[in-house]
Symmetry: C2
Subunit: 269 residues, 2 copies
């Protein structure tokens, strides 16, 4: 079911700025037995994204009401929230009165390989780069051409994900996942203050690592540095923690730290 | 009038990738007495943009047929062509079968200050930067959040345009215009191989300058370098050539070279 501004529909106005300019934000949330997972965190990121894009605060009670309408008790599916700046005349200027568009919908859970959590996945390095823009970094906004071009590089490779490097040469994330590395017991994840999407599952893993008193480093990393990791894994809200068993030609073990974090994530859910 | 895939409508499917990810391209064309100006060049850029985004070639005869339907003999108005990758399931992957969405519409000519061509305009330098991405540079794609944030900086300044600098510190363009500088008789415009939109009017001006045997340089320029120009002007398909009389606090004359190019542009139309 799709609700657009609270009404069942499958069309939006052709002058919606989501279409005109990718002028909006979205959230992709796993729903288990009718319960959207980590909902408060997703909502928080959505609201921060709106703020960064200079949009007024969306109607949170309307979002929650719509979610209640679309979410049933089914086993497992995906909830997506999209907020755009609404319609406007042609032109980049933000209109004086912004009537945000709210799209709430559910869809089937993606068909991931059943054994990825246990056996890990293969990953390549994308040639397409991420541009640097601190004003847009971290936000899950609707300007996603970089990810589309990056993801397209996976075609025919059989790989699950592609790692994207920014124009300064730092590995930032996968096309749809965040990246973690473990070396000598220390947890590392790329800094996302210049580009990338600050994932909710990334936050959860960092919190878990803190609870485990793991040493954590958030910073810059190059591909050669990443390849010296003991363990590597990817995260997002749908896959949870996904171990990496191979990047390009290099193999990695699925180590004890990754497994421990996976178990802990499962115990939280 | 708005034609979507040839049919009069003002809504698109909520799963159109133009909305989901800004996954498409567009053209904004001045129409004078029913004739779209520089149409072949606009079409050429549109097709190249589709190619860069790995979309199939749009149906050119259908585009032309739709344009005939929406364009009447009115004095002056704007024609916009948008091509998106069409609908798909959730996810960045380019679908195997791409059924492009074609949106052809007209709108009123913007309400520019009547004297801008003669008296010039005031311009500021935006704080928002342009990210670098050679794969997307030059294309008029639907990922325009950088321009929206940049343009918003003009609010309350009374300025016509804001100049945007890339993350490497080079002045690239205005939020909706290309930039030219003249110094010691030499015409300069920023290189757009790493970011920016390669405007049709920019091409026309470069062609004119060549016909005038002007020395032309396309390259990198910083703001301090730009401020040493003798003359500065902006271009786009709707304003033509727009002289700059002030950037931040510094004033510029509207010089003879700018006026000559303006006259020549008018004689082409």
């Amino acid at each position: 079911m799709i609700l657009i501004n609270g009404k069942q529909s499958d069309t939006i106005n052709v002058h919606d700025r989501g279409l005109l300019y990718g002028d909006g934000v979205f959230e992709t949330i796993a729903v288990i037995n009718g319960v959207p997972q980590y909902f408060d965190r997703h909502l928080d990121r959505l609201l921060k994204g709106c703020q960064s894009l200079l949009m007024p605060e969306p109607d949170v009670s309307a979002i929650k009401k719509d979610i209640e309408s679309v979410c049933d008790k089914q086993d497992r599916y995906v909830l997506k929230i999209t907020i755009t700046r609404g319609t406007s005349e042609r032109g980049y200027s933000i209109p004086e009165h912004q009537n945000l568009t709210r799209i709430i919908e559910t869809s089937a859970f993606p068909d991931y390989p059943s054994d990825y959590a246990q056996d890990g996945v293969n990953v390549i390095q994308c040639n397409n780069r991420l541009g640097i823009n601190p004003a847009l970094a971290g936000i899950k906004h609707l300007n996603r051409l970089e990810q589309i071009l990056g993801r397209n590089e996976l075609k025919g490779t059989g790989c699950f994900e592609g790692l994207m490097i920014d124009t300064d040469g730092h590995v930032i994330e996968g096309t749809m996942t965040n990246l973690f590395s473990i070396k000598a017991g220390k947890l590392f994840t790329p800094d996302l203050s210049c580009c990338g999407v600050a994932g909710i599952m990334r936050d959860i893993v960092l919190k878990l690592a803190e609870m485990n008193s793991m040493e954590i480093q958030i910073g810059n990393i190059t591909m050669p540095q990443l390849l010296t990791s003991d363990e590597i894994f990817l995260t997002n809200s749908l896959i949870g923690i996904c171990p990496v068993r191979q990047i390009n030609e290099q193999k990695f073990i699925i180590g004890t730290m990754t497994k421990k974090l996976q178990e802990q994530i499962q115990s939280i859910n």
